[in-house]
Protein backbone atom coordinates (compact mmCIF):
# COMPACT_ATOMS: atom_id res chain seq x y z
CA UNK A 1 0.00 0.00 0.00
CA UNK A 2 1.35 3.38 -0.94
CA UNK A 3 1.76 5.90 1.83
CA UNK A 4 -0.61 8.81 1.79
CA UNK A 5 2.19 11.38 2.03
CA UNK A 6 0.95 14.86 1.29
CA UNK A 7 -1.79 13.65 -1.03
CA UNK A 8 -5.18 15.33 -0.58
CA UNK A 9 -7.91 13.51 1.35
CA UNK A 10 -10.79 14.78 -0.71
CA UNK A 11 -10.91 15.91 -4.32
CA UNK A 12 -13.57 16.84 -6.84
CA UNK A 13 -12.86 16.81 -10.55
CA UNK A 14 -15.10 17.56 -13.54
CA UNK A 15 -16.15 14.89 -16.01
CA UNK A 16 -15.03 16.14 -19.42
CA UNK A 17 -17.01 15.03 -22.49
CA UNK A 18 -15.14 12.81 -24.96
CA UNK A 19 -15.62 13.08 -28.73
CA UNK A 20 -18.50 15.55 -28.39
CA UNK A 21 -20.64 13.22 -26.28
CA UNK A 22 -21.98 16.14 -24.26
CA UNK A 23 -21.89 13.97 -21.13
CA UNK A 24 -20.64 15.96 -18.16
CA UNK A 25 -20.76 15.93 -14.39
CA UNK A 26 -18.18 15.45 -11.66
CA UNK A 27 -16.45 12.86 -9.53
CA UNK A 28 -15.79 13.21 -5.81
CA UNK A 29 -13.18 11.02 -4.17
CA UNK A 30 -12.46 10.72 -0.47
CA UNK A 31 -9.44 8.95 0.97
CA UNK A 32 -10.53 6.66 3.81
CA UNK A 33 -8.38 6.83 6.96
CA UNK A 34 -7.56 3.12 7.03
CA UNK A 35 -7.07 2.67 3.29
CA UNK A 36 -9.36 2.69 0.30
CA UNK A 37 -11.31 5.43 -1.40
CA UNK A 38 -14.97 6.39 -1.56
CA UNK A 39 -15.98 7.50 -5.04
CA UNK A 40 -19.15 9.39 -5.98
CA UNK A 41 -19.91 9.83 -9.66
CA UNK A 42 -22.57 12.36 -10.71
CA UNK A 43 -23.31 12.43 -14.43
CA UNK A 44 -25.59 14.69 -16.48
CA UNK A 45 -26.80 14.87 -20.08
CA UNK A 46 -27.41 11.14 -20.32
CA UNK A 47 -30.18 9.42 -22.26
CA UNK A 48 -32.98 8.51 -19.80
CA UNK A 49 -33.39 4.80 -19.24
CA UNK A 50 -30.07 3.82 -20.79
CA UNK A 51 -27.48 1.85 -18.84
CA UNK A 52 -24.01 3.29 -18.22
CA UNK A 53 -21.02 2.28 -16.16
CA UNK A 54 -18.04 3.94 -14.54
CA UNK A 55 -14.50 2.63 -14.38
CA UNK A 56 -11.30 3.86 -12.78
CA UNK A 57 -7.75 3.83 -14.14
CA UNK A 58 -4.14 4.28 -13.15
CA UNK A 59 -3.67 6.54 -16.17
CA UNK A 60 -4.89 10.14 -16.02
CA UNK A 61 -6.74 9.97 -19.37
CA UNK A 62 -9.06 6.97 -18.98
CA UNK A 63 -6.83 4.81 -21.14
CA UNK A 64 -5.36 1.32 -20.73
CA UNK A 65 -6.36 -1.14 -18.03
CA UNK A 66 -9.30 -0.27 -15.87
CA UNK A 67 -11.38 -1.59 -13.01
CA UNK A 68 -15.17 -1.31 -12.76
CA UNK A 69 -16.91 0.93 -10.25
CA UNK A 70 -20.39 -0.21 -11.22
CA UNK A 71 -23.29 0.28 -13.60
CA UNK A 72 -26.24 2.66 -13.30
CA UNK A 73 -29.34 3.65 -15.24
CA UNK A 74 -29.96 7.24 -16.24
CA UNK A 75 -32.97 8.90 -14.59
CA UNK A 76 -35.69 10.71 -16.53
CA UNK A 77 -33.83 13.93 -15.81
CA UNK A 78 -30.83 12.64 -17.74
CA UNK A 79 -28.78 12.35 -14.57
CA UNK A 80 -27.04 9.29 -13.25
CA UNK A 81 -25.40 8.60 -9.90
CA UNK A 82 -23.00 5.99 -8.66
CA UNK A 83 -21.34 5.44 -5.30
CA UNK A 84 -18.55 2.94 -4.83
CA UNK A 85 -15.75 2.08 -2.45
CA UNK A 86 -12.48 0.72 -3.81
CA UNK A 87 -9.45 -0.72 -2.05
CA UNK A 88 -6.99 1.54 -3.88
CA UNK A 89 -5.93 4.76 -2.19
CA UNK A 90 -6.73 8.12 -3.67
CA UNK A 91 -3.17 8.73 -4.82
CA UNK A 92 -3.31 5.51 -6.87
CA UNK A 93 -6.32 6.59 -8.95
CA UNK A 94 -5.52 8.45 -12.15
CA UNK A 95 -8.93 8.93 -13.73
CA UNK A 96 -12.59 7.92 -13.69
CA UNK A 97 -14.72 7.35 -16.79
CA UNK A 98 -18.32 7.03 -17.88
CA UNK A 99 -19.00 4.47 -20.60
CA UNK A 100 -22.14 3.54 -22.53
CA UNK A 101 -23.76 0.14 -22.06
CA UNK A 102 -24.42 -2.59 -22.79
CA UNK A 103 -20.82 -3.38 -23.73
CA UNK A 104 -19.33 -0.22 -22.14
CA UNK A 105 -16.88 0.11 -24.99
CA UNK A 106 -17.73 3.72 -25.84
CA UNK A 107 -16.00 6.28 -23.64
CA UNK A 108 -18.34 9.23 -23.02
CA UNK A 109 -16.58 11.28 -20.36
CA UNK A 110 -13.39 11.25 -18.34
CA UNK A 111 -12.41 12.87 -15.05
CA UNK A 112 -8.65 13.35 -14.64
CA UNK A 113 -8.05 12.63 -10.98
CA UNK A 114 -4.30 12.12 -11.29
CA UNK A 115 -3.75 15.77 -12.02
CA UNK A 116 -4.86 16.60 -8.49
CA UNK A 117 -1.92 14.73 -7.05
CA UNK A 118 0.62 17.10 -8.53
CA UNK A 119 0.84 20.81 -7.95
CA UNK A 120 0.22 23.06 -10.96
CA UNK A 121 3.24 24.74 -12.49
CA UNK A 122 3.83 27.77 -14.68
CA UNK A 123 5.09 26.49 -18.05
CA UNK A 124 5.80 29.86 -19.66
CA UNK A 125 5.35 33.58 -19.23
CA UNK A 126 5.19 36.67 -21.39
CA UNK A 127 7.40 38.59 -21.19
CA UNK A 128 9.98 35.92 -20.54
CA UNK A 129 12.31 36.33 -17.60
CA UNK A 130 15.01 38.87 -18.42
CA UNK A 131 13.20 40.37 -21.41
CA UNK A 132 14.09 43.92 -22.39
CA UNK A 133 12.34 46.40 -24.61
CA UNK A 134 8.85 45.35 -23.51
CA UNK A 135 6.09 47.69 -24.70
CA UNK A 136 4.72 49.93 -21.95
CA UNK A 137 1.19 48.81 -22.80
CA UNK A 138 2.01 45.11 -22.75
CA UNK A 139 -0.19 42.63 -20.95
CA UNK A 140 1.44 39.87 -18.93
CA UNK A 141 0.50 36.27 -19.54
CA UNK A 142 1.29 33.06 -17.70
CA UNK A 143 0.57 29.62 -19.11
CA UNK A 144 -0.06 26.95 -16.49
CA UNK A 145 0.14 23.18 -16.69
CA UNK A 146 -3.61 22.99 -16.10
CA UNK A 147 -6.67 25.20 -15.82
CA UNK A 148 -6.67 27.49 -12.79
CA UNK A 149 -9.42 28.90 -10.64
CA UNK A 150 -10.38 32.37 -11.86
CA UNK A 151 -9.62 35.10 -9.37
CA UNK A 152 -11.41 38.38 -8.94
CA UNK A 153 -8.61 40.01 -7.03
CA UNK A 154 -5.10 40.51 -8.26
CA UNK A 155 -3.40 39.28 -5.11
CA UNK A 156 -2.06 36.21 -6.93
CA UNK A 157 -0.50 38.20 -9.74
CA UNK A 158 1.05 41.53 -9.00
CA UNK A 159 3.68 43.91 -10.20
Amino acid sequence: MTGFGRAPHHVKVPLVPVDGSGVTGFVQLTQLPHGGTNINVVVTHLTPGKVYASFYYESSDCSAAHDPLGAFTAHNSGEGHLHAKVDDNLNQIGSVSVRLGPDFGTLLACGAVGAVNTAPIVRSTFPVNGATGVAIGAKLTATFSEAMLPRRSTRAASL
Binding site: V116, I121, V122, K139, T141, A156
Partner: protein, 61 residues
Protein backbone atom coordinates in the same frame (compact mmCIF):
# COMPACT_ATOMS: atom_id res chain seq x y z
CA UNK B 1 -9.16 51.74 -13.13
CA UNK B 2 -7.85 48.60 -11.51
CA UNK B 3 -5.56 45.82 -12.58
CA UNK B 4 -7.43 42.80 -13.90
CA UNK B 5 -6.71 39.10 -14.38
CA UNK B 6 -8.58 37.06 -16.98
CA UNK B 7 -8.40 33.36 -17.83
CA UNK B 8 -8.69 31.43 -21.08
CA UNK B 9 -7.93 27.75 -20.91
CA UNK B 10 -4.60 27.33 -19.14
CA UNK B 11 -3.49 30.91 -19.75
CA UNK B 12 -3.93 33.81 -17.34
CA UNK B 13 -3.59 37.37 -18.58
CA UNK B 14 -2.74 40.24 -16.27
CA UNK B 15 -3.73 43.64 -17.59
CA UNK B 16 -2.28 46.61 -15.70
CA UNK B 17 -4.64 49.48 -15.04
CA UNK B 18 -2.46 51.78 -17.10
CA UNK B 19 0.73 51.87 -19.10
CA UNK B 20 3.97 50.91 -17.43
CA UNK B 21 6.75 53.46 -17.09
CA UNK B 22 9.25 53.51 -19.97
CA UNK B 23 12.82 52.29 -19.50
CA UNK B 24 11.96 50.74 -16.15
CA UNK B 25 12.72 47.34 -14.65
CA UNK B 26 9.75 45.36 -13.33
CA UNK B 27 9.34 42.17 -11.40
CA UNK B 28 6.19 40.06 -11.81
CA UNK B 29 5.10 37.50 -9.24
CA UNK B 30 2.49 34.76 -9.28
CA UNK B 31 2.05 33.75 -5.69
CA UNK B 32 1.01 30.45 -4.18
CA UNK B 33 -2.48 31.89 -3.82
CA UNK B 34 -3.01 30.81 -7.44
CA UNK B 35 -4.85 27.49 -7.37
CA UNK B 36 -6.04 24.91 -9.85
CA UNK B 37 -9.62 23.68 -10.19
CA UNK B 38 -9.04 21.14 -7.43
CA UNK B 39 -7.84 23.89 -5.08
CA UNK B 40 -4.19 22.89 -5.28
CA UNK B 41 -1.72 25.75 -5.04
CA UNK B 42 1.55 26.41 -6.83
CA UNK B 43 4.41 24.83 -4.90
CA UNK B 44 6.25 28.17 -4.76
CA UNK B 45 6.00 31.71 -6.02
CA UNK B 46 6.95 32.21 -9.66
CA UNK B 47 8.94 35.39 -10.16
CA UNK B 48 10.30 36.89 -13.36
CA UNK B 49 11.74 40.22 -14.39
CA UNK B 50 11.70 42.36 -17.48
CA UNK B 51 12.20 45.96 -18.51
CA UNK B 52 10.26 48.33 -20.71
CA UNK B 53 11.31 50.18 -23.82
CA UNK B 54 11.05 53.90 -24.43
CA UNK B 55 7.48 55.15 -24.65
CA UNK B 56 7.88 57.28 -27.77
CA UNK B 57 9.35 56.37 -31.13
CA UNK B 58 11.20 59.23 -32.83
CA UNK B 59 10.37 59.23 -36.51
CA UNK B 60 11.98 61.05 -39.39
CA UNK B 61 15.60 60.39 -38.43
Amino acid sequence: MTDTVSYAGVTATFTPAGNLAPLTAYTATITTEARDLAGKALAKNVVWSYSTWAAVWCEGW
